[in-house]
Symmetry: none
Subunit: 191 residues, 4 copies
DNA sequence: AATGAATGAGCATTCATTCAT
DNA sequence: CATGAATGAATGCTCATTCAT
């Protein structure tokens, strides 16, 4: 959908790469970026060498993890936008993004990356997400469901912030989480 | 209510300790907890040994930084609460806390700490803050300025979240930042 | 009965491990346990990382050195006991153990370890040695070559003590050393 | 008797020096030479500065501890030699020296020092001890109580070795310790 | 291609020694 | 003289990255 495919890549190599990404996502998001590469490799059932063949740098691995998440979000956002009326789509997508990042500190940084700086490889997917989010926002605003004066940066900032707020709350009690959504969603609507 | 003084502490020792905390706060908040202790020591103009005499562990230093921040916030919150009417005090304090942590990722974690777990030495100041915030919230709710159904955990979560949102925005342009405040503050008010 | 082989271990890795043990034995016994790990690594022609890969702790390295010595002694003791008549075997083995530890202060501690406390990994080899020594002693006593009232602990204590005595003497002059053996061996015989 | 008195030394300074030596002896012999100087100072109730004023180096402190022990032994040896018949004196003194060093690994090194190497300040007391021991040995040999062929070095070596043997044994059970003495004393006697 | 052993810079921490108070 | 804060070299250990097998 966006990833680069330099060469066909043998079947088992592809499987290794995928597994590595899977595991890295799991481990990094649950235990932070400080986890040694060796541990990731072991958890994925390969040697360190293999890990470094696929991702020449630890940072590259982190980046790949983030990219994958961004791509997933972009895809889901696109689907929602296509299937739902603008106002609904906006709020549904807001929820979705926030829920995606539940309990995953590291993920806030992925979104952060979408807003600013970024190593080359993040450019593409973060551009795509930004584009989709911009569309969602515009749609909701035209439908009169969201304040006119809000720009894309504030939208993204609110996504990151709401995700952060959720991390602060118990994961298993939905009531307080809904109250946070109430506050933010009500605040988003025009006065 | 603020610093503990086990022994009077010689003048120069006190100066070093203070300088070390100053520098550590600055460096840790701007560049993360990964910065080598040696660098902190150098920036403070002392040897590593001195750093470790005052803070027996890197973690202890981090803790001290966080404690100081929490204490500062607690003090400012107390002042605001005493000088202002409940509703105003609530929102003023919300701003204050969020502004304090502007651009300082590490600081969000300090607030996080106020909400959860934490090493013994953080207990006292985070308890105090929680107490003050609880009072602010109750006052504002009695004054009818804030939704009744919000609890202290949600309040703290929103503080952390709003701080996070601000980090996402350019520091020097106040307009978008105000828009974030608008959204959150409006959302906080009763329907 | 001797080395444990968790996994086959690559040829070069095995070589490194062996070399490391060799060097560590040499260095620790001649200059004490205070020698920096880095120096051991350098002397073995490997990086520190390699040392720590094979022995996760400096203490583990020391332990391995001691274990190897204990195993060697156990093996030699076993051979002697098998090939010689009880009385002869006892005194031959006494000599052997003492000679083994000539000039190696650290080694006295290995024997000490055989008598007391000690980290798990030393248990097995020190148990084996104790067993063999007990057998030697019993054999010699039955043959009427050693005082009946002596127990295993005293036997071990005398081994350690005689080794210590030898350290006090010039290494290259055999006469005084033989006189020490005379005193101890004569003292061991029944009145 | 041997100590140097460069200057009169004020009363409290002398007290500090004595206390420091006392504590250092206690701590070093029970916990080894690895104990930090700061801890010694604290246990003696003085600052590190004071310790280093009296003993310009940690090594100097260790040396002083050893010297004091040697002097004590020399004095006791002298008394015994004066009050008792040669043969008795020899064995009594042997016991005394060995018992002195019971359980104090570090002390074996003091004796070792008496036999070999040694930093200047140890020369005097170790010479004195060697002299006294030589006299004891000669006396016992003339009385026919000890083998003629034994020299002073072997005597000293046996002292060190027997001390070492005792360390290996339980401190509170006298029976095995006596058996060690039996072996060594019987071995020492002429055939 | 995969493996995992080797590497070594980097880091937190300790401790003998100095020196301002 | 006494004190204890300051110093910084030294040490054990980790971990991203490379490379022989």
């Amino acid at each position: 959908m966006s990833g680069a495919a330099e060469r066909p890549l043998r079947a088992d190599a592809a499987r290794n790469r995928a597994r590595l990404l899977e595991v890295a996502t799991e481990v990094f998001t649950s235990r932070g970026a400080g986890v040694p590469t060796e541990e990731i490799a072991r958890a994925a059932g390969v040697g360190v060498g293999t890990l470094f063949r696929h991702f020449p740098t630890k940072e590259a691995l982190l980046e790949a993890v983030v990219v994958r998440r961004l791509e997933t979000i972009a895809a889901q956002t696109a689907r929602l936008a296509a299937e739902t009326a603008p106002a609904e789509a906006f709020f549904a997508c807001f929820r979705l993004v926030v829920e995606q990042s539940a309990g995953k500190t590291e993920f806030a940084q992925a979104l952060a990356a979408a807003g600013v700086d970024v190593h080359a490889s993040l450019q593409a997917p973060s551009m795509e997400i930004q584009g989709r989010l911009a569309q969602l926002l515009a749609g909701a605003q035209q439908a009169g469901a969201v304040r006119q004066e809000l720009g894309l940066p504030e939208f993204i900032a609110l996504l990151a912030g709401t995700s952060r707020a959720m991390e602060q709350l118990e994961e298993d009690d939905p009531a307080p989480r809904e109250r946070i959504f109430s506050v933010v969603f009500d605040g988003l609507r025009p006065r």
